[in-house]
């Protein structure tokens, strides 16, 4: 993203939080254009009409879940980066958003400096990944590969990606992991991005498979799969 003019979608129902968030974001993207939406419905129409580079999406909205906005963004503007902003830190809340294609998440209540730091890292392509989420992703891949039929192409994590997840699950930060695996920080970040992408693809494939199983599509109607 850098310092170019960026369209940033801010989906947040609390005005105070919205204002505060804008202040933090402006520190990273001084020339950003904010497209603000206090409701999910509004956000969906913004997504349909405007090019979006970056999106900050609150999950708990009065008229629905931010996950739908993430899905819509993933569907209509795959290049945009969606980041979930929430006060729910538990993986039960975050995981569906990540499956829907969110690139990372921020905890709203963190100090401004922390938020800015995380935003900067994300803008540099280093998404955050908590131990609980990492473990959840490992579980997801293990069970989805067990479940998926043999003839279907599978989305599989590479050994390195698995290794990164394992370390994250143990509570190691990405720079620490880079040292441990004798890799550059950039490479480790790439692995994490790849993991998020595969999670999204695998989840979509699973959803398609489930839909097919329920008879919503014909046999050929499954989503294109991402094969490693």
């Amino acid at each position: 993203l850098g310092n170019i003019v960026a369209n940033i979608l801010l989906l947040e129902d609390l005005p105070e939080s919205s204002v505060w968030m804008k202040v933090q974001v402006a520190q990273i993207f001084p020339d950003a254009v904010f497209l603000e939406a206090p409701r999910l419905s509004r956000a969906l129409s913004v997504i349909a009409k405007h090019r979006i580079d970056f999106a900050l999406i609150d999950l708990g909205l009065p008229d629905g879940s931010g996950v739908d906005a993430v899905s819509a963004l993933r569907e209509l503007q795959p290049a945009a980066q969606a980041v979930v902003v929430t006060i729910h830190d538990d993986d039960d809340h975050l995981f569906p958003a990540l499956q829907a294609g969110a690139f990372g998440y921020l905890l709203k209540d963190r100090a401004g400096a922390v938020i800015v730091d995380q935003l900067r890292r994300m803008s540099q392509g280093e998404p955050p990944l908590s131990p609980a989420i990492a473990r959840r992703i490992m579980t997801h891949f293990a069970s989805s590969n067990r479940r998926s039929p043999d003839h279907m192409p599978r989305v599989v994590l590479s050994d390195r990606e698995n290794e990164v997840l394992l370390w994250v699950g143990k509570g190691y930060t990405l720079p620490e992991i880079a040292v441990q695996l004798k890799l550059s920080r950039h490479t480790v970040s790439d692995y994490v991005k790849q993991i998020y992408r595969k999670l999204n693809v695998s989840s979509r494939a699973e959803a398609a498979l489930e839909a097919q199983r329920l008879g919503l599509f014909g046999r050929t109607g499954h989503a294109p799969l991402y094969a490693h």
Binding site: L14, E16, S17, V19, W20, G60, I87, H88, D89, D90, D92, K108, D109, R110, A111, A113, V114, D117, S130, P131, A132, R135, V168, G169, K170, G171, Y172, T173, E176
Partner: protein
């Protein structure tokens, strides 16, 4: 001896009820023969014979005829009474041992006179009572009626012409006559006199019993009509054999013949139906034909008139034999196709059945004498018996199969019931869990949305420096409380991962180098939600203290597990705290929390040498 004589008299006059008495007497005679008396024995095979005229007169001089005398040959077409006269010559005085005569067959009515004294008579009053032709007679000759020298034995036989009968068994005639010592005669004809009637009686009783058993079974299993057919066959056969031995048949000979004929056709219909049902064959047309035959046969006999009864019956007998053979052939064919293993036994049985039929036919067509193949009367019921027993065994086997199946099903059902029960229990449990989970989610969501949003607003809008931090701490506390609400145990390894990320991150943000050591991550332990929450709070408090007060550059967090005890140590290289701070609120709250989970928390410090918070908690 006189008493024996009078009993003999009695027995000869009162029919089958007194037979037992007769046999008892004969056995008494046998056993009473203490001193060996000389055996006198003679076979009368030539007699003078003359038919009795309708007016009752008999010619004094008759023709010499040989015995046995079968009327169909010697007097064809004759119905009436023929007298036979033989003379018995006693060389010495009448013996003390009573003499007797044995007549194998006298058909149909017999009258015996010794020296014109009636010693045996089937004719009572005016009405001639029909008698069983096959019944052998032993007639004791009273000593008083005998005298030295010539004695006259008159035997009169009353019979019906064969053409007026339906069965050659009832054809009139007289067998040869044996004269001799009464007890000696009994011994030499023990089989005919005692064993055969006993056998036939036993067979008849057995058939009746079997018949009722089969009928009951047929009634219970109405789809398997072979039981009914065989049961009816048993009872009818027993009834038929009873009629042969009964002293009293319908007095009208034609009616009796018609009855016998129709009984035969009914027997045949039952036998054919049974044979076919045994191999599960069924034909409505055949059933109708057999029924028609049962009606048709007596009808044709009646139409043929009394004088052509036998000729008409013979045609039917041939037809019956053919039908029986055909049915057996069909049975064999079907068995060969469907159950080749049972073929041997069934062929033997079919062969015997056909053999009986052929012998019987041979007798009726007079290729065989009525006495030949007498054994068919014994064998045929035995065959019926064999079938009956086989059917009962099969019935029993199917009952056992049903019982086994039932037991199996009951077991299956019980298993299913248990399964359903456990499933229901599990579902109820899952439902309860789900409800609890939903409730927890609702509360968590409420907490986040209401309390969380308010705390967040405070954190984002307050200008006072410490307020946002306090609000964040409150939010962290709230999240921990929500997490603790699940009551779900936490893997120690997972907890260590979460703690590490949080603590190292926070220390890093405070520009303190965090060093984390946890070999405990390799040990599979599970923390209860309560212990996890308290440990988290203690850890956070200890690290917060380091960040806020220590001015340290390094902080080391070390975890160990030893003998079921979890040990945590948070050590910094800061300025340390004095005595006065050791009882501070943060420190005491850590100690209180440790105590709640049966642990112990120690805070050690020397000024200038940092602080070490150590915690030991037992793991269950």
């Amino acid at each position: 001896m006189t008493s024996v004589h009078s009993r003999l008299r009695c027995s000869t006059s009162s029919g089958s009820a007194a037979h037992l008495g007769l046999w008892v007497c004969l056995f008494l005679l046998c056993s009473a023969r203490v001193d060996a008396a000389p055996v006198r024995f003679a076979l009368i095979d030539h007699v003078t014979s003359a038919p009795q005229q309708p007016d009752g007169l008999v010619a004094a001089q008759g023709d010499v005829v040989g015995l046995p005398d079968a009327w169909p040959r010697s007097h064809p077409g004759f119905t009436g009474t023929i007298w036979y006269r033989a003379s018995l010559m006693l060389a010495s005085a009448p013996p003390t041992e009573p003499l007797g005569i044995y007549i194998r067959r006298a058909c149909t009515h017999l009258d015996v006179r010794l020296n014109l004294v009636v010693v045996e008579s089937d004719n009572f009053g005016d009405e001639a009572a029909p008698a069983g032709c096959s019944r052998p007679r032993l007639i004791m000759l009273p000593s008083a009626a005998l005298h030295t020298g010539d004695n006259v034995l008159d035997v009169s036989v009353t019979g019906t012409a064969l053409r007026r009968l339906t069965s050659v068994q009832d054809a009139a005639g007289l067998s040869s006559i044996e004269v001799g010592d009464g007890s000696e005669l009994v011994v030499s004809h023990l089989f005919e006199l005692v064993v055969e009637p006993l056998l036939i009686g036993a067979e008849r009783i057995g058939l009746v019993g079997l018949g009722f058993v089969l009928l009951t079974m047929g009634w219970l299993r109405q789809r398997e009509t072979q039981y009914l057919y065989l049961g009816a066959l048993c009872l009818l056969w027993a009834a038929v054999s009873l009629s042969w031995w009964a002293r009293y048949l319908p007095s009208n000979e034609t009616a009796s013949a018609l009855l016998q004929g129709s009984v035969w056709s009914l027997l045949l219909a039952l036998a054919v139906q049974f044979s076919l049902r045994l191999v599960r064959l069924r034909s409505k047309q055949l059933e109708a034909l057999l029924c028609l035959q049962v009606v048709l046969m007596p009808a044709t006999l009646w139409l043929a008139g009394p004088d052509r009864l036998f000729s008409a019956a013979k045609v039917w007998y041939v037809l019956f034999a053919l039908e029986l053979a055909w049915a057996q052939w069909i049975v064999l064919l079907t068995t060969a196709r469907e159950r080749p293993r049972a073929l041997k036994l069934l062929s033997l049985i079919a062969y015997l059945i056909v053999l009986c039929g052929v012998i019987e036919l041979g007798r009726q067509l007079q290729y065989l004498s009525p006495a030949d193949g007498h054994a068919t009367q014994l064998i045929a019921p035995l065959l019926i018996f064999a079938f009956g027993v086989r059917l009962i065994l099969r019935f029993n086997r199917s009952l056992q199969t049903i019982e086994t199946d039932r037991e199996y099903l009951v077991r299956q059902l019980q298993g299913l019931a248990v399964d359903v029960e456990t499933r229901a229990e599990r579902m109820a449990q899952e439902r309860a869990n789900l409800m609890r989970e939903n409730e927890r989610k609702r509360i968590a969501s409420d907490l986040h949305d209401d309390l969380g949003a308010k705390l967040l607003t405070i954190a984002h809008t307050s200008d006072v420096a410490t307020i946002p931090d306090l609000a964040r701490e409150a939010l962290d506390e709230m999240r921990l409380a929500v997490r603790g609400m699940t009551g779900k145990p936490v893997n120690l390894a997972d907890a260590l991962g979460d703690w590490r990320a949080e603590i190292v991150g926070r220390l890093g943000q405070a520009q303190i180098a965090g060093i984390w050591e946890d070999q405990g991550a390799r040990i599979p332990h599970v923390l209860s939600a309560r212990v996890f929450m308290q440990l988290t709070r203690i850890l956070r408090e200890a690290v917060s203290n380091v960040i806020k007060h220590s001015a340290a550059s390094r902080c080391k967090v070390r975890w160990e597990i030893e003998e079921g005890t979890l040990r945590m140590a948070v050590r910094d290289d800061g300025k340390g705290i004095g005595e006065e701070l050791r009882g501070g609120q943060g420190v005491s709250s850590m100690k209180v929390r440790a105590k709640r989970i049966n642990g112990q928390c120690l805070v050690e410090s020397r000024p200038g040498h940092g602080v070490e918070v150590s915690l030991t908690v037992p793991l269950d």
